[in-house]
């Protein structure tokens, strides 16, 4: 029968996590708990050089002195850090040259996720570096990249093989002591990706990494470092899903981007971790620090589609250090049931003639809370800095919340900062209008949500946009008809 708002709410509540399954892969897992010994053991396990071990220990010691922040608009039970295992690796260690060598169960997992390697390989120009739990198990297209001098590998490998390069940049954007979770990550990060694009090179393909959280009680501490040397260009994609489970899983990643003079980095994320069930039980805690630094005339674009996690706490930021540098942030954050998201960006204008754009789209349903938190800061020497921010919220039903917390700090009189915000609601009238034109309620919601999100979806690389659109639909539609 026809739609009422009451029914829509019910439909949204009954939406179950589609990727809720668990793959049993043999793995080697450290005992639970965190201490200097564990930090050293992680470093040793990964055959890291001495400086890295010391770097981790510095972070660990700093972390011990820090307190967990509580200023975000989210409520959750604080993790017990002694009840987490800090290292877990699939134990079939060797790297694979061909897909046939990969654990068939793992391949099956990817197939169920709709991201089989086969498909990925066929998608022209996508190199995939897959992180299952903590260690990379497959890397493709490496050769093509190698010919251009591009380094794209796991961060563990990079620490061993390109030690000087990693040492030069690691922690320069997000220092070890930056914040509580960044410090924790610095101490115990298990793996992640490293990417270096040499001077003047335009990376010929989209680089992508799929992350999975797959071991019960295993915290996931990814570390990503992307360095784009002068005049280079790279587009990096990151997408995540996780199996369904009861206990909360902590994810505290750090992503650092370095864009040197005239370089450009486009960093796109689709995040779909287990958001907890419809009673608000379980789900991933996603406390991430993402930041990029732009030198002269450099540009960094963050694009994110966030549909998962029970609690999200994330502000991909740009430090516009160089003159004429550009920072962009395009975000869609969807929350349903009891999900909580406090997300946004920081645009720090330090150089002259720096520009930044913020487009944030928040979609809340169920009893979820969706907050945008953004800082636009203009330093005293940042002549003619420009910022444009637009924050739009879309509400479904009357039990969810949308909040906007814009912070503006301008220390230079020539700064021009614009902020626009709107809040709207998917109304019965909109749904009925679509119904009357022959479009059922499920399709109507998808149409309205996609229309609302279009400005951001358009910023995603093609193959990701399709996936993102699919995610938006499954996150909100429920099991209608």
């Amino acid at each position: 029968m026809a739609y009422t708002e009451e029914e829509l709410k019910k439909e949204l509540e009954t939406k179950e996590y589609e990727y809720g399954f668990y793959t049993d892969i043999d793995s080697e897992t450290f005992p639970k708990g965190l201490s200097e010994e564990i930090v050293i053991a992680i470093s040793k396990k990964k055959e890291e050089p001495e400086w890295m071990t010391q770097w981790r220990l510095d972070a660990y010691r700093a972390w011990l002195e820090m307190e967990e922040p509580d200023w975000a608009n989210v409520n959750y039970e604080k993790p017990n850090f002694q009840n987490i295992s800090y290292y877990s690796a699939p134990n079939k260690k060797p790297k694979y040259d061909s897909i046939d060598e990969v654990d068939p169960e793992l391949l099956d997992t990817f197939k169920r996720l709709g991201i089989s390697l086969d498909e990925q390989k066929k998608l022209a120009g996508v190199a995939v570096d897959i992180v299952v739990d903590s260690v990379s198990v497959a890397t493709t297209f490496k050769k093509t990249l190698g010919e251009k001098g591009i380094i794209f590998c796991s961060i563990s490998e990079a620490i061993r093989e390109h030690s000087a390069l990693v040492k030069k940049y690691l922690g320069t954007v997000v220092p070890q002591k930056d914040n509580y979770y960044a410090a924790l990550n610095s101490a115990v990060f298990s793996d992640g990706s490293f990417c270096y694009i040499p001077k003047g090179v335009r990376c010929p393909m989209e680089l992508s990494t799929y992350f999975r959280i797959n071991q019960a009680g295993t915290g996931q501490f990814e570390r990503t470092l992307v360095v784009a040397d002068e005049g280079s260009y790279v587009s990096y994609l990151e997408g995540c899903t996780a199996p369904s489970r009861d206990e909360n899983q902590l994810h505290a990643a750090v992503v650092e981007l370095v864009a040197m003079d005239h370089a450009e980095i486009k960093y796109s994320t689709v995040q779909n971790w287990y958001p907890g069930n419809k009673e608000g039980k379980g789900g991933v805690y996603n406390f991430v620090t993402k930041r990029g630094i732009c030198e002269n005339s450099a540009k960094i674009s963050w694009t994110q589609v966030e549909t998962g996690s029970a609690v999200t706490w994330k502000y991909p930021s740009c430090v516009l250090k160089g003159d004429h540098s550009i920072g962009e942030f395009y975000s869609i954050a969807v929350t349903n049931n009891f999900q909580q998201a406090d997300t946004g960006t920081k645009m720090i204008h330090l150089g002259k003639n720096t520009r930044s754009t913020i487009i944030s789209k928040g979609i809340s349903a169920g009893q979820s809370q969706n907050s945008y938190r953004g800082l636009v800061q203009v330093g005293s020497r940042a002549e003619n800095a420009r910022n444009f921010s637009q924050c739009d919220s879309l509400l479904m039903g009357d039990q969810c919340g949308a909040h906007t917390f814009p912070y503006i700090e301008a220390k230079n009189k020539t700064a021009m900062i614009e902020h626009e915000a709107t809040t709207s609601k998917i109304g019965e009238d909109q749904i009925f209008y679509c119904n009357q034109r022959g479009i059922d309620t499920e399709k109507a919601i998808a149409l309205i949500v996609n229309g609302f999100s279009k400005e951001v979806l358009n910023k995603l690389p093609m193959e990701f946009a399709v996936e993102a659109q699919k995610l938006l639909e499954i996150s909100l539609e429920g099991s209608v008809g």
Binding site: A2, G438, G451
Partner: protein, 250 residues
């Protein structure tokens, strides 16, 4: 084509339609007139299947089929079209994309394949010309920032695209200047044929100069209190609704 029998409908327990009888045959144009609050728009919504209204008695039949158990989208698939008095805005969804979705969903509902893109484009072009619609208009977000006239023209454009069996035009003339009215009415006239029917809901006689009805009905207090030919509309224009109210009160 459309047969409404002893239709009673209420909203929040309050009865708005109190026994409507109306028979519309293929090829006919019916006008429904009446003062504010008489139930004209409710009638349109009930025929289209809006859930807010509860049908307590009577029936709405389309080509002999009772629509009672059909959801609004199913009624649309069967050929019911409502031109809204206040068309809603859907930001970020272009007129073209919306039409493409509507047409393909309707086809799916009828067990047909999607319309090939080439055919769709040709159809859009043809119907846009019919209603003198600018190309640029088709890539704008649905109804967002549209003038009153643009919204109504867009409604008739959708009608042209969907080719319904019964089209109900709810106050399509409101908010239109004389030129827009002429274009919209001209469009409707071109879409009329022996196999479809049009029900025009209007306040004023003005629109009926352009879309000439075969029958005029006066709705008052939830009932059709008077029916006649097109001359009834002129009489109403001249004398207002008071005499109808008095007659009904007797």
């Amino acid at each position: 084509m459309l047969e409404i029998k002893d239709l009673h409908a209420s909203v929040d327990g309050k009865e708005i339609l109190k026994g409507i009888n109306l028979q519309v045959k293929a090829g006919e144009v019916h006008a429904i007139m009446g003062p504010n609050g008489s139930g004209k728009s409710t009638l349109a919504s009930v025929v289209a299947g809006k859930d807010e209204f509860e049908v307590t008695q009577g029936s709405v039949m389309l080509e002999g089929e009772d629509l009672a158990d059909s959801a609004p989208e199913e009624r649309a698939h069967k050929g019911v079209f409502l031109s809204f008095q206040y068309p809603v805005e859907i930001p970020g969804v272009t007129v073209t994309n919306f039409m493409k979705t509507a047409i393909n969903e309707s086809r799916k509902g009828r067990g047909q394949e999607d319309m090939p893109a080439k055919e769709m484009l040709a159809l859009i072009k043809e119907k846009a010309e019919l209603l003198e619609i600018d190309r640029k208009f088709l890539s704008r977000s649905l109804n967002e920032g549209f003038s009153g006239g643009e919204k109504k023209r867009n409604e008739i454009f959708q009608m042209a695209m969907l080719e319904p069996k019964v089209a109900i035009l709810d106050e399509t003339d409101s908010g239109l200047d004389i030129d827009a009215l002429r274009i919209v009415a001209g469009g409707v006239n071109k879409l009329r044929n022996k196999d479809n029917a049009v029900v025009v809901i209007t306040h004023y006689q003005r629109l009926l100069d352009y879309i000439v009805p075969d029958f005029v009905h006066v709705l008052y207090n939830g009932k059709i209190v008077k029916s006649g030919g097109k001359e009834l509309a002129l009489e109403l224009e001249e004398k207002g609704y008071d005499w109808i109210k008095q007659e009904a009160a007797v």
